[in-house]
């Protein structure tokens, strides 16, 4: 039907989303400081946004294609571009109006390699944006996460409890030790600085907080507080409200992986007359991953 010339001009990605606030929430979760450069990678499976800090902390937001109402991918390979995360989030936020869901279309690239966003749900009122993109920097540090041994060292706690614990550790500050021991199964966060603070999550005692625990040998690693804090500092309120859990895994060399789930589902009340999916699909979740490098003991 279409000539090859037209096909060559088709943008790498045109996608539509009906829950802007969910996307804002997911992207805000990896916003831990004012100016952050992000790399966005597009593929047929979805959109991944990556941010990084001083070779010690990396965060990824996975927006799978299932989150989008429409997802048209035309590129070969995996196109990447750089964008200011703050600007991207603030801009997306302009499309989200409280009390009503708004449909947006995202396109990359525009005629000048911009990221184009526009609202598509009203003919007589249109919001549009063009964000300048950059050629992305190469990721300075390889975050290949490998399991530490044959059994994974992992535990899942309520996101709210994790955030609270990490917030409380601000007082001792600087360096936080995370200790996992199998018998009795227990996770300990310990801060030593301006005074000491130790927070224990004992598996059998805090069953409502600790949902899962796998550990066959005692391990202990230290992490810089500011990086640990970044993993929960901007956790969207919907995560707490939905009473979700966060999964933490310690890999080879003590690398800590923190995973959160953020709902990008259309809110049930906002659009009762339109019913695309019929019910809230379980797949309408954005996956957030943080990788924190452990501190090397001198």
């Amino acid at each position: 039907m279409s000539s090859s010339a037209v096909e060559a001009e088709a943008p790498d990605l045109v996608c539509q989303l009906d829950n802007v606030q969910g996307m804002v929430d997911a992207l805000s979760a990896v916003r831990w400081k004012r100016h952050q450069d992000a790399v966005v990678e597009l593929s047929e499976h979805g959109v991944v946004l990556i941010v990084e800090d001083t070779g010690c902390l990396q965060a990824k937001v996975y927006l799978q294609r299932e989150l989008f109402v429409r997802y048209e991918y035309h590129a070969e390979g995996r196109p990447r571009f750089g964008v200011s995360l703050g600007l991207f989030v603030d801009c997306l936020n302009s499309f989200s109006a409280p009390g009503r869901s708004s449909m947006i279309e995202i396109q990359y690239p525009g005629p000048d390699m911009q990221l184009l966003i526009k609202s598509v749900d009203s003919l007589d009122a249109c919001i549009y944006a063009e964000i300048r993109t950059r050629i992305p920097d190469t990721i300075s540090w390889d975050y290949n996460f490998e399991p530490a041994g044959s059994t994974p060292l992992t535990f899942t706690v309520k996101s709210a409890a994790l955030k609270e614990a990490i917030d409380d550790l601000e007082w001792p500050g600087s360096s936080i030790q995370i200790n996992l021991q199998p018998d009795p199964p227990c996770i300990t966060f310990k801060g030593e600085g301006h005074g000491d603070l130790q927070i224990d999550f004992t598996y059998y005692v805090n069953t409502d907080l600790v949902i899962a625990f796998h550990c066959d040998c005692q391990v202990s690693y230290r992490y810089k507080y500011k990086f640990l804090r970044a993993t929960t500092s901007n956790l969207p309120s919907s995560v707490i409200k939905d009473n979700r859990g966060s999964k933490l895994t310690i890999g080879r060399g003590g690398m800590l992986k923190v995973q959160h789930l953020v709902s990008v589902a259309r809110s049930a009340t906002s659009h009762p007359h339109i019913d695309f999916a019929g019910h809230q699909q379980p797949s309408r979740i954005a996956y957030i991953e943080f990788f924190v490098k452990s501190e090397v003991d001198e």
């Binding site: 302009s94 007589d124 919001i127």
Partner: protein, 319 residues
């Protein structure tokens, strides 16, 4: 120089629930200009780089038993802190409703007085609110500036007359809350807002920096004044192209204003206007927002109340 009046119930409602909350957002200090027929609240008319805001009431809209006299044709003007005025009115209202008894008991009197405050040798001017309850009377003194001199009043009067020019084309914004919501979020992205208004009924606001362009276009709005048919071939264009074309045809004007000013002017919706119109003054001298109020229960303009804002233009643009 004398001023004394009673605030009517309607007047109290207008001030306490609607206008003072809106005016409070426009800036801390305003001028209150009282004449034989009108009471006018003026923001930034004499010292002018902020948003000019003019709220004018016919005396009957606020007061009864209105008495004013001065050697300057019965005109009195002074500067007053809006938030203090707001607080005084609010607490007077609460006293009235708490202790009020009978039709005349809960009347709120307002008058201009000179008093000698504690630790002062010079008497100072105040606007005094007197509420007579069942057994008690509460008096609140709101400090005001020295009344403006004859020359200053003339200056204020001239500025007020100059601020009355009406744009040739006005478009009606149907949903002020939606616009305010958008502009509040837009503020994060940049400082300068391009506003273009066309005779076709298009309102286009846009922030453009080196990194981002973010805009909103509202089309097919009600037009008052000069209007024109939108060319049909514009329909499939982008908002930006449409604006450019309309400007080059002479069917639209564009000005640049501060996003902060624009957002501040939107706070006037606290006054609960029935309609809001945006227009660009001749020669692109300012962006004008006119709020219209209906007589309750009708669609007729209440001519005893008027409110409008004038936003200074930062760049004359392509008018």
């Amino acid at each position: 120089m004398k001023f004394k009046a009673f605030l009517t119930e309607h007047g109290v409602n207008l001030l306490e629930r609607r206008f003072l909350p809106a005016l409070d957002k426009m800036g801390k200090i305003c001028h209150l200009f009282l004449t034989r027929d009108h009471a006018i609240f003026l923001h930034n008319l004499l010292n002018g780089d902020g948003v000019q805001c003019i709220a004018q009431f016919r005396n009957e809209a606020l007061f009864d038993d209105y008495r004013i006299s001065s050697q300057n044709e019965d005109r009195i003007a002074f500067a007053i802190d809006v938030s203090l005025l707001f607080r005084a009115v609010r607490s007077s209202v609460s006293i009235c409703t708490e202790f009020g008894n009978g039709p005349s008991a809960n009347r709120l009197q307002i008058k201009l007085v000179k008093k000698l405050p504690l630790n002062c040798t010079q008497p100072m001017p105040f606007l005094t609110f007197e509420t007579k309850g069942y057994k008690s009377a509460v008096i609140q003194d709101v400090p005001i500036s020295k009344p403006l001199s004859r020359a200053q009043v003339l200056e204020l009067q001239t500025a007020l007359e100059l601020a009355q020019d009406i744009p040739q084309t006005l478009v009606q914004v149907p949903d002020l809350n939606q616009l305010q919501n958008f502009v509040e979020r837009m503020k994060q992205v940049g400082d300068l807002l391009n506003v273009s208004i066309s005779k076709y009924g298009d309102l286009h606001v846009q922030i453009s920096t080196t990194l981002i362009t973010l805009g909103a276009e509202f089309r097919k709005l009600l037009v008052i004044g000069e209007h024109a048919e939108a060319p049909s071939d514009d329909r499939n264009q982008s908002a930006q192209t449409r604006s450019e074309r309309a400007i080059s045809r002479g069917d639209a004007q564009r000005v640049q204003v501060s996003v902060k000013h624009f957002s501040r002017s939107l706070h006037c919706h606290l006054a609960k206007p029935d309609c809001t119109f945006y227009g660009i003054a001749p020669q692109g001298s300012c962006l004008t927002v006119i709020f219209q109020f209906f007589i309750p229960g009708t669609h007729q303009t209440d001519k005893s109340i008027s409110l409008h804002c004038r936003l200074p233009v930062l760049d004359p643009g392509s008018s």
